[in-house]
Subunit: 699 residues, 2 copies
């Protein structure tokens, strides 16, 4: 699907306002008042037959009177009127529109019809319409205010914020302001009848006035658009920071009634975002803090850990604890650093990370400055968090020094100044410094920056191995898997993909069984082959550890008689005889269809790991080698595979390679496989490979 | 140890200031200025030969000139002068003192001597001294300001705050103010030379002006004081809310250099606090939010879950997600509630929890009010969080309604009003409402309240089973365990405590072995008995699954010969023959000595659970039945014991009972056991008991 041209929407030279009110107390008067007050430079055409002019703009009587090719139409009419108005606008060749009206899919049946028609209109005309049921949007730098929300333009940062909840987005807008961060672009996507959350992501990824993209999202609607938007941002080195909600059952239900988006499988989202280096945040403070930090933070040439410098021992302890909790490292300072610090700091200061300068450092501002530079210059430090807790009196001496240090370093400097007065906060922010309000919040945001920088480097190294490229290489298959019903058939299909299965054969009588075992070699396993029987091992359909010809005969007969008893009407296709694999670690690999992500691969260790501990990882197919390795490393049971306490490590690279193959198999047959379950797959010792012992498909 | 009388310290009728400065720019002038400015009602005696009077108070020339029995002396002199000054004050029968000076144990060797002497002084005279290296304290209601920190008394809530970091404590003081919460008491404990963190807890527990006790703690110094302080608070129904830091390696190291307190084993602290229903919080915002909520929250007669009402779908989704994340429930509203809501709310509102009234409710304030009452009246709701996001215009209509609802309900009502103006915030707080700033923070604090209320109920029910009472019942033993070296001896000791061990005997020759097996019955296990051999099974010292007389003879000889080969100099005391226990789930129970908590019991499932997953729980001994059950339930492997997928449940009550017995054993022998390791202990099916298969002691 071609992308929308959102340039006329966000950077319009002309704006028509349909349903503009002359009554300033009304919400529908807001956009016009806003445009006038903020000094929008383009042409504005209010359309309302009742007025001669509104807010100093000449009024037009109807849409027909509008000039052609207007860039943006603000549609402030009822839900039922919206589509007729848009049709008229389309005749005037309008280039984009925003519909505020509620009364679409969020109200149920009746509204869904209206929304459906609106979607048709957008698809047919390719006119991008923001909304409906949207708070609208703004572009601060060009004073384009297409929202009826109250806006107050003072700080403009190169940050674009996209939200599926207008109210929640506005809340973060106000929170961000308190952090000294002003979104240059803000858009409330509403019900997304045609223009999708990730259409906006893609637009901002290509907008040179945007450096960081933030958002609140309940659910994505289109995997292709999501992938495309994220890729565009990555290509242009723009971090995306998303708060994805709806992880709980209740939350997901509420999301589906809120903007009728599907919250989806949280863990697939998580692994998808992680894989694409999208920064996922988990609460509203982490969201604005991370945006504020990414707006000012740096990507230093070398990766490293966190340096902590405080004037309070307590804050240092808290920050060290939080580093560990959030999975980043408190930097090991080099001996050079600590001995330099020792030279200039008083004896009761702590020169190890967290460095405690103590409050007395304030009487030695030069040493304070030098200490910060020493820590910043440490090769193990990627970002430095400074905790300060001082009154206004000392701030004017300190802040210019901090500003200077920040300008001179290529590393990220975060100032956690506790409860600053407005004056001090303004001085910090005007100085271009990144201020974060508490030690815990500072470390949480820094964690996101460090992990993002790390991910960026990792992605840079493995770019040739991205699954997106593989997707196009895997030809769509014409065969479906309808005929692969029994374990034997499925294994044959898997084997065709290079996945190891046990040596074996399907036999139809005892003599063939005996002959076949001579080829395979003892011990063997006998299993009934029937697409009618699902739980074969529970009802006498499987015999393991068969070591002699006599045992083969007995096992064969016993399976047949058990099946005749337990499944009298089942169609038995034969007995599958396979070599018995004794040693190795059992894992399972599954595949299921997610409504958004398509085929997803689940992986974990068997037995209690999955049943008791839910120690499972999920990623969308197809997988790259890197994805497969990440999946294997991310489960708790990884230690088992790696070999604990002197035990031999398992063949992890063979496992990774089979995960990739299985994911490609599932991708290729995505239209015919509902579920695939390979359980167990045995991972042998390093160098000895893996074997899929059992496989079942729901198709 | 008798407790200190802290009444003269916090509620002094007279205050002497030693080293009072007349120069208002100096820090040492602050207390005096503060006392005057705030209007302290008692008598103040500045002591300084250089002045006639300071700040309107008549100056005394020296300590000798002070009247006797002054309640509080503020000692503002150097570290070296502090003790001589205190000795002089003791002669004047001063009742308490505070020492600000740094230069004690926090600076190392030299300071440690000074602090040691100070501790001696305090123990000898029983004069409570706050500090040294302390920011001091205040009592807002009586205008007692014994701190040189800047204080600004406006809001006074019945909250006492105790902190081991003056700076961090002051930071939370300022944060709390922003939340509309003013600590009535604040104390910076400094190095705690004599008066300990929990001495203050105990004092505030008995102070009728205090309702909630909060604190920042790096480490406790005395288990008895801690237990006593917490018990006093519980007896008086006062919640304790603590932020315990130093959970990370780096953090713990920093804590030990900061106030020379030991951060200790975090998981023992956690289980101890949980057991005692102390609310442990993990960051500075959670700390002040929880204090603010506990100050205003209610303990309703019935336990229940969280009702969520919003005017923004997004905020509702976030709160539902956070309930799940924090382990509390979003209440299931009764059918009565939802149908009542349906009657009065517009059709696009959501009447399920989270209830979304939508922003349009503001045009129907009566329905808004009614909706809140309907949800509050639901029997499944214990606390209600209301999310609001409105400008100032509507606030004066809404807030009086909220106030009225809050006064009429016996349930907790939390108002999460997003980014209120100062005016709106003041109106909310003046109305006695509990305001919390963000959806995530509101739910986190509510979680603490709900869990505290739950814990209170639980503690009320199990009060007769508290381990404190057991401790006194367990007589101190006179025997030590020096003679119990071999597995056999240790098992005999355990058996004496009622702990089940396998049937068996120690034999010294093959004939005795054969006879003994006839009593026990096959199959049996043979193990070498020697205190010189630790890893018996690794070197041929153990033979299992012995089924015949011949196998007994062979096993016996083989063990002896293996030992002669592998441990030529070991003293072999014989062979331990035991019945072989085949079925059951293997767990381990260990005991170790913690420097603060004394003997602690570790418990977990064997094998990978402990080695790979670190699925282990630790509590201090002795344990109550309730503790033991809580421990068992808290590990991830509990599902295994409970019986997954139709498997028979294990004998959990026998396991709990043995955990209690083992903890009592460790408690009784705490002076002679360094470590005890029972691994494995086999838990058989329900009703069939448990058996300790192996046991080792480090003594």
């Amino acid at each position: 699907m071609p992308t929308f041209n959102l340039q006329p929407m966000f950077s319009p030279k002309s704006i028509a306002i349909i349903g503009a009110s002359g009554d300033e107390r009304k919400l529908s008067a807001r956009p016009l008042v806003n445009l006038r007050n903020q000094g929008y430079k383009g042409t504005v055409y209010p359309v309302n037959p009742k007025y001669e002019d509104i807010a100093g703009y000449k009024c037009l009587e109807d849409i027909e009177s509008l000039p052609e090719n207007i860039d943006l139409a603000i549609v402030s009419v009822s839900a039922k009127q919206a589509l007729p108005v848009l049709e008229q606008l389309a005749e005037r060749l309008v280039k984009s529109a925003v519909v505020y009206s509620s009364g679409f899919s969020e109200i149920g049946q009746e509204g869904s019809h209206l929304q459906h028609d609106l979607t048709d209109f957008i698809n047919r005309t390719r006119i991008p319409v923001c909304g409906p049921n949207s708070l609208g949007f703004y572009n601060q730098s060009e004073k384009v205010i297409a929202t009826f929300a109250a806006v107050d333009f003072d700080i403009g940062d190169p940050v674009a914020f996209i939200t599926q909840s207008g109210a929640f987005g506005s809340f973060t807008y106000a929170m961000a302001k308190e952090m000294g961060l002003g979104y240059n672009y803000f858009v409330s996507t509403g019900n997304e009848a045609g223009v999708d959350f990730f259409d906006y992501v893609e637009y901002f990824a290509q907008n040179e006035n945007v450096k960081v993209i933030g958002g609140y999202i309940e659910g994505a609607r289109d995997l292709e658009k999501m992938t495309q938007g994220i890729s565009a941002a990555e290509k242009n080195n723009k971090p995306i920071i998303l708060m994805k909600v709806g992880s709980s059952q209740r939350g997901a239900e509420a999301a589906s009634s809120h903007t009728s988006s599907l919250a989806g499988n949280q863990s697939v989202y998580e692994s998808f975002f992680k894989q694409k280096n999208v920064v996922q945040v988990y609460d509203e403070e982490e969201l604005v803090d991370t945006l504020a930090l990414f707006n000012k933070g740096k990507i230093s040439p070398n990766r490293g850990d966190v340096g902590i410098v405080t004037i309070s021992g307590g804050a240092g302890i808290v920050m060290a604890d939080k580093c560990e909790e959030y999975g980043i490292q408190t930097a090991n300072l080099t001996e050079e650093t600590t001995s330099k610090l020792k030279e200039i700091l008083p004896p009761f200061a702590s020169v190890n990370n967290p460095v405690d300068l103590t409050a007395q450092i304030i009487q030695m501002i030069d040493h304070f400055e030098e200490s910060l530079n020493i820590v910043l210059e440490d090769e193990n430090v990627e970002a430095l968090v400074l905790y300060m807790q001082l009154g206004d009196a000392i701030a004017p001496q300190i802040i210019p020094k901090l500003k200077q240090i920040n300008e001179q370093t290529d590393k990220t400097l975060v100032i956690c100044w506790a409860q600053p007065s407005q004056k001090t906060k303004d001085a910090l922010l005007d100085g271009g410094l990144c201020w974060l309000p508490t030690p815990t919040r500072a470390i949480k945001a820094v964690k996101n920056l460090i992990q993002y920088n790390e991910g960026r480097e990792r992605r840079g190294q493995t770019k040739n191995d991205l699954p997106e490229q593989k997707v196009s290489e895997i030809a769509a298959t014409t065969t479906d898997l309808k005929n692969a019903k029994t374990e034997y058939d499925i294994k044959q299909e898997l084997a065709g993909y290079g996945i190891s299965i046990p040596r074996g054969a399907l036999v139809k009588n005892v003599d063939d069984a005996i002959n076949c075992v001579e080829d395979i070699g003892y011990p063997v396993v006998l299993k009934v082959a029937s697409s009618d029987i699902t739980h074969k091992s529970d009802n006498g359909g499987v015999k393991v550890n068969i070591n002699t010809k006599e045992e083969v005969i007995e096992a064969y007969k016993s399976i047949i008689s058990n099946m005749e008893k337990n499944y009298p009407s089942a169609n038995i296709e034969g007995i599958l005889i396979e070599e018995m694999i004794k040693d190795g670690i059992e894992v399972f690999i599954g595949c299921f269809q997610d409504s958004l992500f398509g085929p997803c691969i689940m992986f974990g260790l068997g037995g209690i790991y999955v049943e008791v501990l839910s120690d499972v990882v999920i990623r969308k197919a197809p997988l790259s080698e890197q994805d497969a390795e990440d999946m294997i490393r991310s489960i708790k049971g990884y230690k088992i595979l790696k070999g604990t306490r002197g035990k031999v490590p398992s063949d992890i690279s063979a496992l990774a390679s089979d995960l990739v193959k299985i994911s490609e198999f599932c991708w290729q047959y995505k239209d015919s496989i509902i579920e695939l379950d390979i359980n167990p797959l045995v991972v042998k010792s390093k160098g000895e490979g893996v074997v899929a012992l059992d496989a079942a498909i729901v198709s």
